[in-house]
Amino acid sequence: MNHEPSANESDSLALHLPPSPGAGLARGFVMLALASGVAFAVGMLAGFAPGMDGRRLAGSYLVGLIFVTTISIGALAWILLLHLTGAVWSVVVRRLLENLTRPIPWIAGMFIPVALNLSRIYAWADPSRVASDHELSRKAVWLNPTFFDIRAVIYFAAWSLIAWRMTQLSTQQDQSRDRSIRRRMVGSSAWGLLLLAHTASLAGFDWLMSIDPHWTSTMFGVYFWAGSILGSLATLTLLTIGCRSAGWLGEAVSVEHLHDLGKLLFGFVIFWAYIAFCQYFLIWYANFPEETRWYAIRREGTWNALSWALVLGHFAVPFLLLLFRATKRNPVWLALVAGWILIFHYIDLYWIIMPGCQRAASGPNWLDLSILVMLVSICGAIVAWAGRTRPLLPIGDPRLAESMAFHNS
């Protein structure tokens, strides 16, 4: 349908949006963050988790931090991708994606504890181990604390820049209704996606793969990406369904849009499984001890159980559920599947990071959860606060009415 909306039409859309819920929601998230912080402190002092030494704690924090990072940079990737492909159906959820990228500069701040505790997580940051290990001293050109920190600053700066640029253009579009802004969004998306793809892959190599500095997988960047894209899509789906059922999006988002989100989730569940299997398969086939070791560790005890949980929970279950059209078109079922995927995105990161941060596999505990809730709540507060300042729909986008009328044929 080629329905060209007028500026008046978009104005009336904005008028029909209910008042912004952001402030109260943000306050709720802040309370939750404080509560989980207190729970964490009490749990630590009471010796609630016996295996929780400094190394284990640093690992747990890293899992939570990477979890929120992947969701924000995944959302950023979606914005750029949808601009570049000229997708119309997704215009109604674009503002939510933009809000999801708002925590990026704050996450950079949350990265400081990791930077201060590098030697607890990364063997290459421990000078005595580097001195006694030829492989580590050979890799020290890239894997050394100073350069690592510089790179982290570059990554966060690049992501913040792209996120700021897309948000700024979108706000301008809201205010001026200038049709030429759309072209500038596409242009910025082009260089933005190039920059994001490279920095995010490198971040995956740096932050996750180098935990075991003897192990390399050239596919790891894609694996990191696949999880990020899927995790952020699941978050977007939850957020969209939540805002929709609360009435904050007016009538803009229909079952047709949910159906499309469901189709994309389905596709990226398969994409993740494809990439995860390819990485495993190549290493299994080549059968080099220094490569298979990474998987061999994860085939023992608790890690083996988590490996199988990933095969079933990260792939088989959502795959089978999302096969059905009815699942994708039912908000409750779709939200359940998206939440399920998000939980397994966390387990995936836990499975990647934790085996390198524990002497003996002690499995997840409640302190991991309190750290996760704390970090997610902080980011949730930022996203909710961002939702306060601008309408939850991109009211200046000339394609908004067309997007609202979208229909799967």
């Binding site: 299997f277 495993y280 398969f281 299994w284 086939y285 059968n287 044929s409």
Partner: protein, 202 residues
């Protein structure tokens, strides 16, 4: 030919009504569906939103076909590799067990996709009754407009509740541009049966 119904013995395929706009076609279709007709077809120059639903169309049968053939493809891929590597011609490759299933996964995946994709195309064509070298609807001369500016509804004669007189009466009430009886074969006499409404011939 379905001998059970009298209309067919007269060589009638259906009654075809022509409308000027998609809106008129849509409301006529809804009326025909409400009157109990199920075997009917709409023909339009471009896709019209909601016309399939108006005819009572709910779900196409492609999905179960694709699922079945996808599973079959996966089993075929896995089964063939298992048979050759374990049963028929076991080879020691790098000291691995004969039943090294990870090595079977890529082909299993590819055959799943191949079978599913081909069955989707072939199944869609089959369910649409394609390819169809002959279709009686083209016996109606007015039908030429279906690819230009005519919106057509055909109530087919093999509908269990079909009655020629009733179908004509129903379609008359929806004020179409024309109503034509469509023959199963291109007998010129069919044209004389067309009842044309005055002043609309172009």
């Amino acid at each position: 030919m379905h001998g059970h119904d009298e209309a067919n013995t007269h060589g009638l395929y259906g009654v075809l009504a022509e409308y000027d706009s998609p809106e008129e076609l849509l409301s006529a279709t809804q009326r025909a569906h409400a009157a109990g007709y199920r075997k009917m077809e709409a023909y339009t120059p471009f896709p019209v939103d909601g016309i399939a639903e108006a005819m009572g169309f709910e779900k196409n049968g492609v999905a179960p076909i694709v699922l079945t053939f996808g599973l079959l493809g996966g089993l075929t891929g896995f089964g063939m590799q298992w048979y050759s590597a374990v049963v028929s011609y076991p080879l020691n490759i790098g000291g691995r067990p004969f039943f090294s299933w990870p090595a079977f996964i890529p082909i299993t995946f590819e055959l799943t996709v191949l079978f599913a994709a081909i069955s989707a195309v072939v199944g869609m064509l089959a369910l649409n009754g394609l390819p169809k070298p002959y279709h009686p609807i083209f016996n109606a001369p007015v039908f030429d407009r279906a690819s230009a500016d005519g919106f057509f509804l055909c109530i087919e004669a093999d509908d269990p509740s079909f009655d020629r007189e009733q179908a004509h009466r129903l379609l008359e009430e929806t004020s179409p541009r024309s109503i034509t009886d469509v023959g199963l074969t291109s007998v010129p006499a069919q044209e004389t049966m067309a009842t044309r409404r005055e002043g609309i011939a172009r």
